[in-house]
Assembly symmetry: C2
């Protein structure tokens, strides 16, 4: 499913554009050629869109971009330059052609009706000259990406809006599925903050918000079919109405972002379900028992799993799914299927009877039963694609038979599981925890934890000198994220099964206060990796060093827009390109060869 | 310098108060006894302060507390309860005595003129009964702490403000120096965010803002003596005027918080100084050279140290110090003295000549020269106390003779260095990086760093499965911070040399966007440790488990006030006391014995 490989290779053979402008849009376009660097003024008051047929989404997107450009008056905060401090760098912004002033953006869209769904064409081309700006795209979703690029091209300098020169861009994503995962089940996330994530996704050309909306801790969704479920929201304020959800979906669509819901079943199930009937669940009132491992019932508190053998659950699952399926317009629906705990079912009489009746039965039979009973429910329309965590296939608790129609999201064992799953012929979304989990490295959050006691003997230092209690420590830096070659050593057939990647922020230690700072700008490193790649298209070498000033500038851009992405470095490093490099040698990463 | 040890021991022998109220002020007072739990209404519209003599600071503090209580209408977000989910917990809020309504707060202050300086008496007692509230303190600074407690005692329930019952509190800090370190040199911190830190310090009874105001990366201070220095601020916006600094100092004083400035010399010196003359510095334009270790000139970019042997620097140091000394009213002044790099002085002709002239000379002679020349400058008033990083004594680059008058701030080797320094008779501020550095665990921030490349061989995983490039990884959790027994195994004489502790947040990866979330609520764990201790006063056992609901509630309180402290756990853990404990056994920590 990797897009346009042949086109990509063909373009990679073209001579590289000389990078000589201050602007450095993120993600780097697939191809960007400055034709000259005589700056071209832009008359924003007279600038208007030429589009054959009025399209509300495109016009709104254009107005947003234009207003952002006008109000920000952006000048790049971090610009690229050679590492030497003595050699002055040619900045590109030469004399501005005061006769030329761009007033027109001509947009051509071939298929304005194409719906925002997985795999829709997002390609665009853009040409900027003193005569105006021309954007050509197959769909309006490509046009939106062009606007994201354009607003990063226009800068404010010497009292005027301008583009640094004539430029041609051809651009297209490497992968159709590019996103972040947010989790409003462990802690509530407000609508305001969710919308802000969508803004930043659009700016970085990510196109998926994977919304892990509930979990065993809370059920924030107001449903008509089972209004009692939302009693397990954290408070009356911390809930999503149907209107809220539709608003998020529509807001995202306006910005080219798909919202993929996740209802995690049959594990991670407690809140909400127990308000319908305690009989739907197993072990929901048990001690999670990490302290007595033989009795542990959950990977984290509180426990709870749907009692798969209880036939009463399926009509309820169907009703809930049906109502949610109508709220989310996205073809992809994520139904969880991760981290099923065998011990939990010790609390279920039905399941214990099931095992007793035939000694050869295992958890695989339980998971298979779940699949057999739910797939007919979940495939509720022809376009439906289901996504599940890889656990349904890769763990001892997984099912016997997992259809190749099911997209598997991989989070364990890094490249090894990507190799395994694609080798078996499954379509895969890459979310390897060792590279793409944004919540790692903050220590453990469970309480009454003696592992933090340091008795000063020097021997009980494991939680200090070790990983600090975070299961997926260390913290994944933007460099770590960008350097991840998740297709390394795969065959072309295997590569074709990679649909894309998601960076995941689980919310055990996240709510509104830190949501944006934990996701951004790190997700922007992934954004470039899945849009135009983490390697130089000509040499094949990792281009992390080239991303440095681009991502530092992008972070400042987000700050200027009012968001709260984390700073990556002392501001000195922005103002002194490569002055904070570990290696003076600017090609030191080339030793790692091509992918 | 540990306060009131004898009083503390005496009180520890008294019967423990039965914890039966929902409120759980942080830090836990030294002594708090509920006399009954018939809730007492408080008429906030009629509530007034009785104080013998009008005192602006006390009246303002009272108004702030009162307004906070009125506007927040706080009900505890996390309340303590036994771990069992079946046994209902007596909540303490029994029938409210509708006849009683508190209208008066009587405050007695013995010495209202006592200045806010190191060691000032901060003790208070408070008695709440239906007859009113009585606060007695030696100084107004004790009164301010009483108000911080009081506003956490008053809750809003059943449509009325109330205190859960009659209560008596005696309270006093264990240590006179209790603070956080912020760093506006690596990245700028706005006045707004600095003031917010002061608000939260006051609420948690911390009393020191250690302001590491500049560093080699930037000099944000506008000085009259050398106005050119501020050219090395990051921008015109990112500067502090004298007025700004005075405003911070006065704002802090109003809240019982001392502002201790730090100008880091002679290492960590570049920005600002080089605007006066490049000759004041050594190696400021060198490559920092971590990639060629034999040539490295700094622990982080950019390099730069004052050229200690250049006599021209001392009149300039004197002028700068003099101007700053007048801006900060605090007796303690921190003058750095950490991380001097011998290699840097390879770039100084004067220093190379100095070494060549006598082969027995070492860096110790250089540091001694610095002390000998600067101490007469720095001791500019009788009350002056100097603080330096322990490096001046403990490293090979340190001085030969370090006066016992100099307070040493310890950041290396945890308890070992505390033992060493106090054993030698130095007064110590504890900031052990392995427990109290809040910036640890976020990975490395230097760029062009090949260590993040994972070649998928499984062997180059050190930055993923290891510490992730953060020199002081892992992240210090609130439990780790609270569990730190920094006086373990010390003699009473040594304990007497501990002035207190500071949690430090260095700003390489910090600016306004994350300042509060990286400091809070973790600093509140230290706040309790240095105010009333991390161990149960009766049993001597670590009371981390008791702090859990207290700090979770305190974090929600800060959120309600509009700050952005990080969430520590899923909200489920607030709503289900001890439901997220690792050990069901509520006394599992007792195995670690008494300190």
């Amino acid at each position: 499913m990797k897009f346009s490989t042949s086109t990509f290779v063909a373009l990679a053979l073209l001579p590289l554009a000389v990078i000589s402008a201050k602007v450095n849009p993120l993600p780097a376009p697939r191809s960007l050629d400055w034709l000259d660097t005589t700056a071209i003024a832009i008359d924003l008051d007279r600038l208007h869109l030429e589009l054959a047929n009025y399209n509300e989404i495109v016009h709104n997107a254009f107005d947003r971009s234009l207003n952002t450009v006008k109000s920000l008056k952006w000048t790049p905060a971090a610009v690229e330059a050679p590492i030497s401090k003595y050699q002055p760098f040619p900045t590109g912004l030469a004399k501005r052609d005061t006769n030329a002033s761009i007033e027109t953006i001509k947009v051509s869209i071939n298929d304005a009706a194409a719906d925002l769904q997985f795999g829709v064409n997002e390609t665009y081309t853009m040409a900027v000259s003193s005569g105006g700006i021309e954007i050509v795209s197959e769909t309006i979703w490509g046009t939106l990406h062009a606007f994201s690029t354009l607003q990063q091209l226009i800068i404010y300098e010497e009292g005027a809006f301008q583009i640094e020169g004539s430029v041609k861009i051809w651009d297209a994503p490497l992968y159709p599925h590019r996103g972040i995962l947010i989790d409003s089940g462990r802690n509530f996330l407000s609508l305001k903050l969710i919308l802000q994530q969508i803004d930043m996704l659009a700016l970085s050309k990510l196109n998926v918000l994977h919304w892990h909306i509930e979990d065993s801790q809370s059920w924030p969704i107001q449903l008509q079919s089972y209004p009692q479920m939302v009693k397990d929201a954290y408070s009356e304020r911390e809930q999503y109405s149907a209107q809220d959800i539709s608003y998020v979906v529509e807001y995202a669509k306006q910005r080219g972002v798909r919202v993929m819901p996740e209802i995690d079943m049959p594990g991670h199930s407690r809140a909400g379900w127990k308000q319908i009937s305690e009989d739907l669940l197993a072990c929901q009132d048990s001690w999670w028992s990490n302290d007595v491992w033989s009795e542990h019932t959950a990977v984290e508190p509180p426990p709870g799993q749907l009692d798969v053998l209880n036939e009463d659950i399926y009509p309820i699952v169907a009703n809930i799914y049906d109502e949610l399926s109508k709220l989310f317009t996205e073809n992809l629906f994520h139904v969880g299927a991760d981290e099923l705990q065998a011990n939990c079912y010790n609390f279920s009489t039905i399941l214990q009877d099931f095992f007793k009746a035939n000694a050869s039965r295992t958890m695989k039979d339980v998971s298979q039963r779940w699949l057999d009973r739910t797939l007919p429910i979940f495939y509720d329309k022809p376009e439906r694609k289901l996504v599940m965590w890889e656990d349904i296939l890769t763990t001892p608790e997984g099912a016997h038979n997992v259809s190749k129609d099911i997209i598997l999201q991989s989070w364990n064992n890094g490249i090894k599981n990507i190799d395994l799953l694609t080798g078996l012929g499954y379509d895969v979304i890459v979310s390897s925890s060792d590279h793409l989990y944004l919540d790692c490295g903050y220590g453990g959050w469970v309480t009454n934890d003696i592992r933090y006691v340091d008795d000063n003997s020097g021997t009980n230092e494991v939680f200090n000198t070790g990983l600090g209690g975070s299961w997926c420590a260390p913290y994944k830096t933007w460099q770590r994220i960008y350097d991840y070659d998740f297709t390394a050593n795969l065959t072309d057939t295997q590569k074709g099964h990679i649909l894309g990647a998601e960076a995941a922020l689980w919310s055990e230690q996240v709510d509104d206060t830190v949501l944006s700072s934990k996701i951004w700008p790190r997700a922007a490193a992934l954004a470039e990796s899945v849009w135009s790649g983490n390697r130089d298209p000509t040499t094949g070498f990792l281009r992390t060093n080239q991303l440095t000033q681009r991502i530092l500038n992008f972070r400042e851009y987000l700050v200027a827009l009012g968001y709260t992405p984390s700073p990556l470095v002392p501001k000195f490093c922005l103002q002194n390109p490569h002055g904070c490099d570990l290696y003076y040698n600017q090609t030191v990463m080339d030793q790692f060869g091509t992918n």
